[in-house]
């Protein structure tokens, strides 16, 4: 409870006691009827104790020509009630209104706090190691890249950096929702916002605080609720017309029947109930609060949703398109089989391949080098022989090793140079073909047919993520109609992986630009409100991520490009978080709709009953603040959702 809330609570309680006292005097009948007017003043006491600030605000509103604000409407309504000689009710309505407002502010404060608790990742300080070895505590904002920082056990990592010395388990749960701590060793990247375990670490800052992961995430969460959903825009627009319309109705309701019947007391009272209901706050607060809760629930699960609007998209997903490597599979390549051409040794093939890939950091290149080191440790590092590399996008490489041209790549590359090849038998593996400029061909130029000699095929396998199959099944259980996988791999590999995962459709042998076209094709197939999501690792697929209705980036902790391009960021590598976030999105959209329907229905009902003289002002106050409180409580159900994973 804040100071302001405490003060208001005391005022409300005092007003209640005073009100009860005056009501007892009235009921006791000790004051004769002709002095009835005395009660106007008596009831004004609890009225002003509870509502003086509302009156003040209403007066300011008149001065500033803000006639339709909540305070003004409440004051006019209560003056109306006093004028129609309902003194007790006028005072009670003000007290009741303040009680409602109090609950509203308390509930909003609570949900605000539960979100900020989730986001309790901001480091308060950094321990800077000076050149003489002493340590100084500074503000994380003052850390410069290159600074050496000391991180003691239990402290938050202030900025993104590189571990120089020490080894420790760091807890990334606040960022990723992943409960198992991660081991970090010297030479490894470390991300701000994580909590250091038992070890003492020395890190070198690689980024300023404002560019660090933690600052980026906070910025995202804070601005997420500003990207408004369609439902929110609807309700904001609606609220703009709602208040003037109801106020106009109130004026008519007072004027017309009063003139006809002459019973202006009665109609003034009825018109005043209208004014109380005309406050739009319950409506305006009900929807954003639901989305705010959704954003909170998602971050609790290690998923950043960058705007309320994406919840709507996620709740209507029909097609999920996914990248294969690194998204559905581990992206951990291992040589599984080596087929050598006649007269070529295993060692020669590996050496040539490793050398040709020497300048590449592609996972396939790494796996070949690893295999060489594994089988022939004395040859490790021989890849230095490469002098030139030409990347043939979508095919492979043309490298010059020890003065000889070497081709390394897929079957299409071999076909392009007319090299006869030998295929493997494992459809799930990626085949890497190697051919070298043939010394025996002598006078022939190496780019003519037949000038390359086939060396062999290296089969490389990537394993499917263990949770991928279940994640796809769960997405479908959440209403996703089709799961499509796109990959640059050859069709056989793609089909074998697709089979293993249970995806509906797979497109192989795609160049990066083809992926955008495919997604566009799939988008064109959608009907009505169906939406499409693309899941990628965010490294090469920024264009596709932004083309889809919603782009989901995986495992991108620390990858700025992915956080930037994607609409939804899965902080760790767990595919299981996608069905979880779809579930959260559906609940969020559902709760937002419940709130709208509930608020509108109650208001409409009370308006009708009020016009008929059945609903009194108490009911009207309930329709205003009571509904708001119930909507807030309904939205808070989202935050109560337990972590669905981990």
């Amino acid at each position: 409870m804040t100071e302001k809330q405490k003060k208001n609570l005391i005022r409300i309680l005092a007003a209640l006691v005073l009100f009860a006292a005056v009501a007892v005097i009235e009921k006791a009948g000790v004051i004769p009827e002709k002095y009835e007017i005395l009660f106007l003043f008596l009831f004004l006491i609890p009225y002003l104790v509870s509502g003086y600030d509302v009156v003040r605000k209403a007066v300011l509103g008149v001065i500033n020509r803000q006639m339709l604000d909540e305070a003004f409407l409440m004051v006019v309504a209560s003056i109306g009630a006093f004028a129609s000689r309902q003194y007790a009710e006028a005072a009670a309505v003000m007290i009741f209104y303040q009680i409602g407002e109090w609950f509203q502010s308390y509930a909003v404060g609570r949900s605000r706090k539960s979100i900020s608790d989730l986001m309790d990742i901001v480091p308060e300080y950094a321990n800077l190691e000076l050149e003489d070895g002493t340590v100084e505590t500074i503000d994380p904002d003052d850390v410069e890249p290159g600074n050496i920082l000391v991180i003691k056990p239990g402290e938050k990592i202030p900025v993104d950096g590189l571990v120089i010395s020490g080894e420790s388990l760091v807890n990334t749960a606040a960022l990723t929702g992943e409960p198992v701590p991660r081991t970090v060793r010297p030479g490894e990247q470390i991300i701000s916002g994580c909590i250091n375990g038992e070890g003492l670490l020395r890190i070198q800052a690689t980024k300023m605080f404002e560019d660090s992961t933690v600052a980026k995430i906070l910025e995202l969460v804070e601005t997420a609720s500003e990207k408004k959903s369609k439902t929110e825009n609807f309700i904001t627009r609606f609220a703009r017309y709602y208040t003037p319309a109801v106020v106009a109705a109130a004026v008519i309701l007072f004027a017309v029947p009063s003139i006809i019947t002459g019973n202006w007391h009665e109609w003034l009272y009825r018109a005043c109930t209208f004014l109380v209901i005309s406050c739009p706050c319950a409506l305006v607060i009900s929807v954003p609060l639901a989305f705010f809760g959704g954003i909170g629930a998602a971050s609790k699960n290690g998923v950043l949703v960058k705007g309320s609007n994406y919840f709507e998209v996620l709740s209507m997903l029909d097609t999920v398109v996914s990248d294969k490597t690194g998204t559905m599979t581990e992206g951990n390549f291992k040589v599984s089989e080596i087929l050598t051409a006649e007269g070529v040794s295993r060692r020669q093939l590996l050496e040539t391949a490793a050398a040709a890939e020497g300048m590449s950091t592609h996972p396939i290149a790494n796996s070949i080098r690893e295999q060489l080191t594994l089988e022939f440790p004395e040859d490790a590092g021989k890849e230095a022989g490469v002098t030139e590399t030409e990347n043939i996008s979508g095919y492979g490489l043309l490298a010059v090793v020890d003065g000889k041209k070497v081709l390394i790549g897929n079957r299409k590359l071999m076909e392009r140079y007319g090299v006869e090849t030998m295929a493997g038998h494992d459809p799930a593996a990626t085949e890497v073909y190697v051919a070298r400029e043939d010394a025996g061909a002598g006078s022939h130029a190496a780019d003519e047919n037949g000038a390359f000699r086939f060396f062999g095929t290296i089969l490389i396998r990537d394993s499917v993520k263990p949770e991928a199959k279940n994640a796809i099944r769960d997405m479908k259980a959440e209403g996703v109609g089709r799961v499509v996988m796109l990959t640059g791999d050859r069709k056989e590999t793609a089909a074998a992986v697709a089979e293993e995962l249970g995806v509906d459709k797979v497109f192989g042998e795609l160049l990066p630009s083809d992926k955008v076209l495919k997604v566009e094709e799939l988008l064109a197939r959608l009907t009505g409100k169906q939406k499409l999501a693309f899941i990628g690792d965010g490294i090469n697929d920024a264009p596709v991520l932004s083309r889809a209705d919603v782009g989901i980036a995986m495992g991108s902790m620390g990858s700025d490009a992915a956080i930037e391009a994607a609409d939804v960021v899965i902080m760790d590598d767990d595919l299981g978080r996608i069905p979880a976030v779809i579930r959260i999105a559906k609940r969020t959209v559902g709760i937002a709709k419940q709130n709208i329907v509930f608020a509108l229905a109650v208001k409409a009902a009370i308006l009708i009953l009020g016009a008929l003289g059945i609903a009194n002002m108490w009911a009207a106050v309930f329709a205003d603040v009571g509904v708001a409180v119930l909507c807030i409580l309904n939205s808070m159900r989202l935050l109560a959702v337990k972590k669905t994973i981990g």
Binding site: R56, E70, Q104, R112, E222, E226, V284, I285, P288, L289
Partner: protein, 71 residues
Amino acid sequence: MKKKFKCEVDCANCAQKVEDAIKKIDGVVDAKVNFMMQKFTLEALDADFDRILDEAVAVGKKIEPDFSVER
């Protein structure tokens, strides 16, 4: 220049009204009054930023007396 401030605003509808009014001030590129986060973001011309900020707060206070910005 874009700057973020902590602010106090009492209700969602008031936040919306204050935001709409501040957006109409000359020199304001964009403005956001975030009720849930209690944050006020102002994007305005560099040269006049302080003056525009003062005006924005004044306009906000006029609409919603409880609106205040921590600087």
